[in-house]
Amino acid sequence: MNKTAVEKIFSEKSGTDSRAGDYVVANVDYVMANDITAPIAIDAFNDLGMKAKSDKIIIIPDHFIPPKDINSAIQYKKSKDFALNNGTWLYDIGNGGVCHQVMMEKGFAAPGRLIAGADSHTNTYGALSAISTGIGSTEAGVIFATGKMWFKVPETIKINLNGKPSRGVEGKDIILNILFRIKNGGAAYKCMEFSGDIKYIDINERMTMANMTTEAGAKCSFFDTDEKTIEYLKQRNTGEYKIVKSDDNADFDQTIEINMNEIEPSIAIPNSPDNVKHVSEVHERIDQAYIGSCTNGRIEDIRKAASILKGRKVDRRVRLMVVPASQEVYNQALREGLIDTIVEAGGYFSGTTCGACLGGYMGVLGPDEVCVSSTNRNFIGRMGDKTSRVYLANPSIVAASAILGRIGTPEEI
């Protein structure tokens, strides 16, 4: 054997001996859609007039949830009714959250699986050694009906992570530096595989990194399975899974060496996630600080933010918004007293939603406003008005910036 992990998984799922570049029709273990993408998928599914592969389908309303207006409510209702009428999995208001976080918490993501999601950040489950990839809605509807999808088996970029990250350097900083190296579109159609000293990177940080491989244009990501992976999976109801690893002599498209010990806390400046600087070079005043999303809305992120905010006050010019990535994260933050800490500092803590990350609602930016955000994209107009500007950073930097009233680090407060 001399195959990459992604070649092995696509071979198994398609029942073929496939290699990078081959087109295959593969059995998909799970297909996920949200309130924006599911309605179009449901139309496609209805067009086919077939029975739903209900046990494979997960509906997680999250984008404009709770509904922000009547049209959003219509899309939400259509998604929910489909799930209820067809007996699919459904994670709704009260037990759901941001779709990718829920997919990992509820045990759908596990090593060796092939998962398709009608959302571009489906790449996230590579953190748990699954091959997971973003797809469109029509094709999600076809999977609803057939359980299968066509794929081109991707080439793999191997990223060797060397050394131990310095204090204050998080998964967000590592992936921003990788994006700076390979650029938006630099991994287009490819799998970004992470190996090396991953023992220094906790699962939540791996999720952040896997999540933002999307910003390099990657089809999927893949972290080797290790003790941290197994430990995370033990706490989840995953069922059986199969550990897969690239062979040493596999044919990689390229190998990139990253010295994690040389990475500094970093920030992506407008208007692209690959437009990365050391955070120490940026001091811009901010109007909003946002912690949340599938990228950095986990309990570890909220703990970091709370530890910085404890006993301090958010600058009066700034609105700090902390939006947990799931109900489970919310509940844990409540139990640990983190919500108290954040609101006592003058922050706003809400229920779970994707809303603000994509300029939907719950934190939309006005003209010329500046936001430092723990999310994944800072395209023109991404979080609101076309003249607003978004800086992407780790949640510790976002929390520190909220206190400082400008972009800065925890060391400065």
């Binding site: 029509t138 057939t146 395209f379 023109i380 107009g381």
Partner: protein, 160 residues
């Protein structure tokens, strides 16, 4: 499948992302008629109004990067765009286009805005202002989906 398409070039740059193509605030509908007027409105507020049925988008690298929103393709189809040519495409946008039956071609074309261009699918070439650009044929697998006019018809045909 059509063998030749002619239309005016609508020229766009590199890294046109789906947030530009259709901002997220409009994602509370998937109606092409409601989405189409907002095409690229943050960058070019007057662009959607100037597009005519049959026009051809000519873009640079990484067209359609960003989110998986099929609304991006629906918006473009809603404008009556007949074909999208780009130096390269972001992967989900490419899939959405193939699966919903709008022709996408990977080629570097340097046409001027509103210049007439012709795509000759039979001979895999693009013609404009006296120049001819060859493009790579689709692989057999994708050809079958395209010739079925999208994934739904392809699955219905029983070839799946």
């Amino acid at each position: 499948m059509v063998t030749t398409i002619s239309g005016r070039a609508i020229v766009l740059g590199d890294n046109v992302d789906t947030d530009q193509i259709i901002p997220a605030k409009y994602l509370n509908t998937s109606d092409p008629d409601k989405l189409a007027p907002h095409f690229m409105e943050n960058e070019y507020p007057d662009l959607a109004g100037s597009i005519k049925n049959g026009d051809i988008i000519v873009a640079g690298k990484n067209f359609g990067s960003g989110s998986s929103r099929e609304h991006a393709v629906i918006t473009i189809k809603g404008l009556g765009i007949s074909c999208i040519i780009a130096e390269s495409f972001a992967r989900i946008f490419f899939r959405n286009a193939i699966n919903t039956g709008i022709p996408v071609i990977e080629a570097k074309v340097t046409a001027n805005n509103f210049e007439k261009i012709t795509v000759d699918f039979q001979n895999s070439r693009i013609l404009y202002s006296g120049s001819e650009i060859k493009f790579k044929e689709y692989p057999e697998f994708l050809k079958n989906i395209i010739e079925s006019n999208g994934l739904i018809n392809y699955v219905r045909s029983g070839k799946w």
